[in-house]
Amino acid sequence: VSTQSTGSSGINAEYGEFQTFQLLSICYFDPEHNWWVSKHIKKPIRSTILCVDWHPSNHLVAIGSCDFKCRVFCSALKELGDKPQTSNWMPKLNKFGTLLAEFDTNNGWVHGVQFSPSGNQLAWVAHDSSVNVVNSANLTKVHTVLTSNLPYSCLLWMSENSFSAAGFNYCPDLYTVTADGVTFTAKMDVKKEKSGGGAAMSAMARFQKLDVQGQSETGGTTVDTTHENCITEIRALSRNPATGAVSKFSTSGKDGRLVIWNFDALSSSLGGLKI
């Protein structure tokens, strides 16, 4: 039973969570005994959990798993004196571990899930190359985009109305959310085509291509994105505390690269893109 990933909640350093096979552990620090205690959420998770995100209030947690579903649970801990509020996610107060919502719209593993800055919306990306958003005001209506690219593995809300998704297409893509649904807005990797490659590739270039892209043939499929392999993580670097808007973010991938993107600069080169 291995740990798939860990995360910690934003507000309170006392929380943490980690996921293992079919199990979500919510951990908190017990100062009296000077150790971390974990409480498990198991039902009705049927397969490995791939991603986790905290709601800004800390009292809810969303997960995406290999049983093709995205779920929201109550994670309020009375041990820590949590006083959760009722909300659209939790219309009446529930105890820890209660399943609040389950979304079953996908045919692929759910690779990434995230609450919007306000916590009212939830977006997730799955291996069927889809992007999904739901607003807690109407939990029965999931807005889905069946994209034409390879699946995304991670996403990041850039503001309350937009998020960026990245993955096997090697490029962060921007999506906009309105009351009517979610639409693809722009590819954020705007780059000039790389020159080079072709028959006369030096030994060093050949090795680099094998190492970074995992390709051994020299016939040039040059990659015209900054990342040369799957992007696995996307994180906010600087976020406006008042509006929740992200101005800088980073991506890292299987090509071993960590790339920092300046969203404000990108918006001007993409023609006044607003989030």
Partner: protein
């Protein structure tokens, strides 16, 4: 001489995975797709449209509500034949316009039938590949990915 076991070896044929309570079972989701009667009705309507040379309309009709959840293989087979009959009736030059008319859901369904065609009707591979090229131009790699991750099969 060799040692011979006198005990039963029946235990070797027990399916231990069947007893694992953590075993994942794909739940049968009600996708609201069509049954035998609807598939037959559709085949008739499509034939009618093809006789009137309304190939684009025939294609849209053929791709409606495929019997994905239906456990009867012959129903699926019948629907597949309907779709193939439409694909065959197109001139190569008209494929572009027909594909342009389809939405993403129809594109995904068509892609699934194309891949089924590659497996079941290899003799038709040449024309299927023509369609494939046009459908990928619109549906992209995403539509192929959705064929690969599809668990029910069309």
């Amino acid at each position: 001489e060799a040692v011979v076991s006198t005990q039963s070896t029946g235990f070797r044929t027990v399916d231990v995975d069947a007893y694992d309570e953590d075993n994942y079972e794909d739940d049968a989701r009600d996708t609201g797709d069509s049954g035998a009667a609807e598939v037959t009705e559709r085949a008739n309507q499509v034939r009618g449209l093809l006789n009137q040379l309304k190939t684009k309309e025939a294609l849209k009709m053929a791709l409606k509500n495929p019997p994905v959840g239906n456990k009867d293989a012959s129903v699926k087979e019948q629907n597949y034949e309907t779709v193939v009959s439409v694909l065959k009736s197109f001139k190569a030059a008209d494929i572009d316009a027909a594909v342009a008319d389809l939405d993403m859901v129809e594109i995904d369904i068509l892609m699934k039938y194309l891949y089924k065609g590659f497996t079941c009707s290899p003799d038709k591979a040449a024309s299927l590949l023509q369609w494939h090229e046009k459908v990928v131009a619109k549906g992209g790699l995403g539509s192929i990915v959705r064929v690969m991750v599809d668990r029910k099969g069309i």
